[in-house]
């Protein structure tokens, strides 16, 4: 058993060619026993220098296929690359595993290959610093490499597992970099061997990486020290690890040689030719047990069985068709994806996170429409929280009833996947916005507000006998003005109307009529959205105790309540830019802009990951409003986090001046038209003057009348022909001129607010954190909890109680101090 140190010293690779055939790798290989090479090399018998001329790496050839040939030269095994690819020429699977110092140092053109190795080192040299080689997973994000490409990594991982197993270690440290963040995991080799796979998923910032590590063929060879009496090595050292990765929506299997296999899900009855592109099947995946690949093609390598796992069985449901194709029943099929760079693609985080945040893992095979699919929600990919057999609807989507409670905040950051049947096969899609689970506020705003009781003023009607509220269109307003202004041609109508006013009020004046108009307000939303809007009724508007109604062309609406509510929309406080950790809560400011009410600060702890919803309650008698800001947590709790008063209804002036002007025009037109007798005019004029200024009747009449021409002629020509003169046109001209910005930090005020942003939004201002590489390795990350020191790894700091150590007191104190400051386990 090899145990101890791994100190490579000097090895050189020299050559001038761009292929390995032209290159000589000189390895200062010790002659001591049980030294290994993992790599296809041959030994120069005389100098322990290995000539690698046989090691040919070309763009279209196989390499590293010779196994166990150097048994007499202290060479164990050469890592292999099974499938050549134009994009993967390289030395990435060559490993050196000596027990005495050795270094690989590339030279000249080989540097590019060695660079691809990217084992932790510097320059072009590759120096291992521990027995366990680090392994990294990389990927392409938007065409840019993020860390290593992971096909290299696979070989590393497998070989690390192999090396660890040789050494009797029980864990393997793996590490990968994605999106600039380094993550690490400790894999339990016994678990790997017993279960056949290791699964974990991680969030790198907001990118979700889901990894299965499966050792499909794991037959450890013997070291040279384990030769039998015939001096024959039994080394097989056949490693074929497979890493199953979920990247974005796609699921990949990565083979040791850098060959990736992407899962395909053929429809039942669909034929697939078993060729070089297909080769990986698994059965009964519902057990979580992955079964080794069945490499039937010459292009695939591997045999044997999963360690402690089941024997490989050709899926029973694969039925050969007459033309040599196969249909797959209850199995997963993996198709080799030729263009490796392409399949290394990562989705942009923003693409990944268009969903809701529930992750489903499908551990059963999917055989087609009508299949029973068992799924479960898990937190961080470890513990199922709920499981069920989701209903497959008639569209062959199984999304119904996914959210069944027991969901935690952790799960909320997971993702939901949707399998859809496209008439030919199942396809895995992101869960889209329009298929939100029920906790998200949907079209029915009532659901969101249920747990917030709105004020009981609702239902207070306007039909209290004092006022009536009419909900009108622009054309109604225009007509109202027209009725008061130009419809006076109907002498009988107005005569009757005016007399009716006199009967009702005991006076006889248009000023009296205007005083019945309490207010006219305009709102920036269609009142049809208000529940208290009465559906259109008759064409008549009654004012005061008017016997004769004002008659409109349109049928009119009224409001039944002074107070009503409208839905202000919602947004989920989450995006691909969130970190997914403490940084989303600390040093992050979140403000909410509420149109017509202003902005408020929100507590990140309340809203991050949750949905913020606005409900406006509006007082139609004053135009005032209160915006209730509510937070909808994924588990169904809704709570109010703010209430902002504002002004949403803008006044259309109905001033006494305006009334006087209208009255004056009314009278002027009446006189011009000759429809009123002089006595009536005198009465009207006197009444107006009295109502406006309190002057004695008649004294101001001449002034009013004299002002008619000026007012009438002063109407803005820009109003357009569709605007009637009079009160309505004044109101609309105000509206026309109102497109000005309003201060964002305060509530709305009248027309000016109509020019402010009309859509609520949340602004997030977060800190920018420069990446600190190796932070975790050197100083760990914040943690809490009680552990055994030996159960942790890497940097560890904390408080210990030194009971049970047979040491001097000052030694114990030293131990406590050192651990408080941090040690490396």
């Amino acid at each position: 058993m090899i145990k101890g140190n791994f100190y490579p010293t000097v090895t050189t690779i020299t050559g001038t060619g761009n292929k390995f055939t032209d290159t000589l790798i000189n390895l200062n290989m010790p002659t001591a026993s049980n030294a290994y090479w993992l790599g296809w090399v041959s030994e120069d018998n005389t100098s322990s220098v290995f000539n690698v001329s046989e090691l040919e790496v070309t763009e279209d050839s196989y390499i590293f296929r010779r196994v166990n040939e150097l048994e007499n030269h202290n060479i164990g095994y050469v890592s292999q690359r099974d499938i050549a690819s134009p994009n993967n020429t390289g030395l990435y699977n060559v490993f050196v595993y000596p027990t005495t110092p050795c270094t690989i140092k590339p030279a000249q053109n080989l540097a590019k290959y060695i660079n691809q190795l990217d084992v932790k080192g510097s320059g072009n040299s590759v120096t291992t610093t521990s027995l366990l080689l680090d392994f990294a997973i990389g990927c392409k994000v938007d065409g840019e490499s993020q860390g290593m490409t992971y096909f290299k990594t696979v070989g590393f991982a497998g070989i690390r597992a192999f090396l660890s197993a040789i050494n009797g270690d029980t864990t393997v440290d793996i590490e990968w970099t994605i999106n600039g963040t380094t993550l690490s995991k400790v894999i339990s080799l016994p678990d790997l061997e017993n279960d056949g796979y290791i699964h974990f998923d991680e969030y790198v910032n907001t990118t979700h990486v889901d990894v299965f590590i499966t050792i499909c063929s794991f037959m450890l060879g013997y070291s040279q020290a384990d030769k039998d009496s015939s001096n024959t090595s039994h080394g097989i050292s056949n490693i074929l690890p497979v890493i199953d990765m979920h990247i974005g929506n796609d699921k990949y299997v990565v083979g040791i040689g850098g060959v990736q296999y992407r899962q395909i899900v053929p429809a039942s009855g669909r034929y697939i030719q078993i060729s070089t592109d297909y080769g990986f099947c698994s059965l009964n995946a519902s057990t979580g047990q992955w079964i080794r690949p069945n490499w039937e093609s010459a292009n695939y390598y591997g045999s044997g069985k999963l360690v402690n796992g089941p024997e490989c069985v050709i899926p029973k449901n694969i039925v050969s068709s007459p033309d040599g194709f196969f249909t797959f029943g209850n199995c997963l099929v993996w198709k080799r994806y030729v263009n490796q760079l392409d399949i290394c693609r990562m989705y942009k985080p923003s693409d990944i996170y268009k969903l809701m945040g529930i992750q489903l893992r499908y551990q059963t095979s999917i055989t087609g429409a009508g299949a029973t699919i068992y799924s479960y929600v898990e937190d961080d990919g470890t513990n199922p929280k709920a499981s069920w057999a989701p209903h497959v609807n008639d569209k062959n989507e199984f999304l119904a009833e996914l959210i069944t409670g027991n969901l935690t905040d952790d799960i909320f950051k997971s993702k939901l996947r949707l399998w859809q049947w496209d008439d030919t096969q199942w396809e895995l899609n992101d869960y889209t916005e329009d298929k939100k689970p029920s906790y998200n506020p949907g079209d029915d705003s009532e659901n969101v507000g249920d747990s917030v009781t709105l004020p009981s003023v609702f239902g207070v009607g306007t039909t209290n006998g004092f006022v009536t509220q009419y909900a009108l269109r622009k054309s109604d307003i225009q007509q109202l003005g027209a009725l008061l202004w130009t419809s006076f041609v109907d002498a009988d109508y107005w005569r009757n109307y005016l007399f009716s006013l006199a009967l009702d009020t005991g006076t006889f004046s248009l000023a009296g009529l205007m005083t019945f108009f309490v207010s006219l307000k305009v709102y920036p939303f269609p009142l049809v959205n208000v529940s208290g809007l009465v559906s259109e009724g008759g064409n008549d508007m009654y004012v005061g105790t008017g016997i004769v109604p004002l008659h409109f062309t349109n049928k009119l609406h009224s409001l039944t309540s002074y107070v009503d509510k409208i839905d202000g929309g919602y947004v989920r406080v989450w995006s691909s830019n969130f970190f997914g950790d403490w940084r989303d809560y600390v040093n992050t400011e979140i403000t909410l802009y509420v149109p017509y009410c202003g902005t408020i600060h929100l507590n990140p702890a309340d809203v991050v990951g949750n949905t913020v919803k606005i409900r406006y309650v509006i007082d139609f008698s004053t135009g005032g409003c209160v915006a209730y800001v509510m937070c909808v947590a994924p588990i169904g709790n809704t709570f109010m986090i703010g209430a902002l008063p504002g002004q949403i209804g803008a006044d259309v002036p109905l001033s006494a001046t305006a009334a006087g002007e209208i009255a004056a025009r009314f009278i002027g037109d009446a006189m011009n038209a000759g429809h009123l007798v002089g006595g009536e005019v005198g009465n009207i004029a006197g009444g107006i003057a009295s109502g406006l200024s309190g002057n004695t009747p008649g004294a101001g009449g001449g002034n009013v009348l004299s002002g008619i021409a000026g007012v009438y002629g002063g109407l803005p020509a820009a109003m357009g022909a569709d605007l009637a003169p009079g009160m309505a046109s004044q109101a609309l001209s105000m509206l026309t001129r109102s497109a000005v910005s309003a201060p964002l930090m305060s509530g709305g005020r009248g027309f000016a607010s109509f020019g402010a942003p009309q859509i609520p939004y949340i602004q997030i201002r977060r800190g920018i954190y420069p990446k600190i590489s190796k932070l975790s390795e050197i100083s760990g990350k914040p943690s809490v909890g009680t552990y055994k020191v030996g159960d942790l790894s890497g940097f560890v700091s904390g408080v210990v109680k030194t009971d049970g150590i047979n040491a001097h007191e000052n030694e114990k104190a030293k131990i406590r101090r050192l651990i408080a400051g941090g040690i490396y386990v």
Partner: protein, 167 residues
């Protein structure tokens, strides 16, 4: 005196250094410990072969069962030198320490992402992001939509539009 010398390259704070040193080729002829000896901070007196060097920074004293960091050697005369040792309590008691319960503050292997990391510096500039609401009720056509509310006195004792007789 059974003393094994080695050269370690790992961080002194590494708990178990047993995998980080090589068994040195014996190049020390005799080893003594100065008297009186302090078991935690002993001084070693060594004789090395003629022309030899002393390139060790670590040792193990079997008698005391302790590992020691070694300081710079002081050459006395001839091939004799003295070197100070400081007990490496971590490796000496590594097995015991691994069994200790620890209330952990920081670690590489059990991160709690919700706890702020004081070592993660933040730049003074900020990143800003806007999340718009899904929809706004304030989408209106002032020319055609019902957007005006006219409040009039009385009137409700007459027929209301849509409301029938006043209530």
């Amino acid at each position: 005196m059974q003393v094994g010398f080695a050269f370690i390259t790992c961080d002194p704070l590494k708990l178990d250094k047993s995998g980080d040193y090589t068994a040195a080729v014996p190049s020390v002829k005799t080893v003594q410990i100065s008297n009186p000896a302090n078991v935690e901070n002993p001084h070693f007196i060594l004789d090395i072969p003629a022309g030899g060097t002393f390139d060790y920074n670590y040792c193990y004293v079997q008698k005391w069962g302790r590992y020691y960091f070694l300081g710079e050697p002081t050459y006395l005369d001839g091939n004799r030198l003295t070197v100070a040792g400081v007990c490496d309590v971590l490796t000496t008691y590594a097995d015991d320490i691994k069994n200790l319960d620890i209330i952990v503050n920081r670690t590489e292997s059990a991160e709690n992402k919700k706890i702020p990391d004081a070592l993660q510096a933040s730049q003074s500039n900020r990143q800003s992001e806007i999340l718009n609401f899904n929809d706004s009720p304030f989408s209106v056509n002032f020319a055609t939509d019902i957007v005006y509310v006219l409040t009039v006195q009385g009137g409700s004792h007459r027929n209301q539009p849509g409301g029938g007789e006043n209530q």
